[in-house]
Amino acid sequence: MSPKVISRDVAERLERLDLPFNQYGMDPFGISKRHLGLFFSFLEVFYKHYFRVQCFNIDNVPRHGRAMLVSNHSGGIPADGGMILASLFFDHEPPRLAHGMVEKFAQSWPFVSQWFSRVGQLPGLPEHAVRLLRNDRILMVFPEGARGTGKLYKDRYQLVRFGTGFMRIALQTRSPIIPIAFIGGEEALPTIYHAKTLAKIFGAPYWPVPPYLVPMPMPLPCEIHFGEPLVFEGTGNEADHIIEGYVEQVKDSITRQIKYGCALHGQRRAGLPYDVLGERP
């Protein structure tokens, strides 16, 4: 561990993570305690100071056991994923590690793939999702995938097509779904153009270009709204139209959270106090 880099808060919370680390500080999925310490110390700066993230109803995430976090995806680069990870680590009691499903193309990048695996962010394969949930872990999915982060500023906060694989996995593993709205990401990195040549060079699905050209999010405040858990009954082998119906319910729930969240976000940007919007959806 590098005590100079890792904050006391991170070190203390790391000790309380419910992960079976061995004597080398590794868990069976290849997660390294040392890497987690550095990773969360890095995220802490962005979570607490850069994006000044505020969480709402994080208690909807279970204290123990499996759950699937399903969120909108936005902001050119997946900073929302990092902030949701940080929220579960810094603001949830007890701290929990969420496992994201990383785009497969990132696995071929030196250092990037290594870091993703050491901090529990595995390639987006159904086998990983099922295994993590069966091990009572928290899975974080963005059913919009790269379509979500790649959307342009003019389409902000409009959910694009959801994949349905996550719902079959949730049913198969009997995992509750926590719908999440991440607000602020669209404004932090407003994509106005996709540089196709750069994307091709880096093997990425797109390359976001904001008005200020550098694809780095601006330090604007963000909020994360955790919805009530949704539990669906089934085996995961249902017909497509049934699964699509369930997915629509999740999408509706996220849309309602987004609407409410956007209104609150407007108040925060305007310097007004929160919670004057009546009942939460």
Partner: protein, 304 residues
Amino acid sequence: MKVLITGISGAHARVVAERLVAEGNDVVGIDRRPWPHPREGIRVYQADVRKRPAADVFRKERPEVVIHMATITHFSASREERLRINLQGTRIVFEHCHNHGVKHAIFVGRHTIYGAAPDAPLYRTEDEPPLAVSTFPELADLVAADLHACTALWRWPKLTTSVLRLVYTLGPLHRGTLASFLARPRVPMILGFDPLYQFMHDEDAADALLAAVEHRLSGVFNVAGPPPVPLSVLCRGSHRTALPIPEPLFPHVIGRFGLPHLPPGAVSHIKHPIVVDASAFREATGFEHRHDAHAVMTAFRGGG
């Protein structure tokens, strides 16, 4: 019970043979290589499993159980030789098992047949396809041998067949693919990649084979010991120096500067993990490894 071990003169097979004898079994072995002074209870026939004298051993000894360990890796033979020994040898041994009334045949395979790839799942179950045919073409003979052994499950239902896919073995014997890779003081890595490596102690591997014999397993099973550790940890634990090399330079420096010679396909196995889910084997046999990763690395470097 009479057990025949092919490739008995190999370091791992000797351990298995001695353990079987210690448990009161009668052990015979076939190998091209000699085993000058085996302990009492072990008879070694110096022959090639693919040749006629080996058939005569089956005919004369009538073993009840056969453990097929006469396979080799890229570290010890040419491509043609590997194909002859691994694939043809496996085919002939299983035919002998069928023709000479063997009740239980065990094929000792390797987990590397699953292949390493960036988009492969971290934990491989037995129903995963063997990607090594494309990611590591030099392993094609072992993949073919493994799949051929699997055909015995439906071709000869009366012959109980166990196809075991063992993770790397490591320990005091200093033999095997991983031991060869770690044999020199400097171990090559690909810069920016640090894959998980899964290995088990030489003795745990022998325990697992004995468990397969005892439980007369039928089917395909992954066999593993402790949870995997990154290659960098394995290097440190084995007192080796990891040498991260940028991937474009790798083909030019490998085999030089005190680094081991590796076939081109091996790069994928140094970049990405091959980790297996061995829960089916554990459930079927109750097998538990006795040595954790630290103990295995300590034993390998000669510390205990």
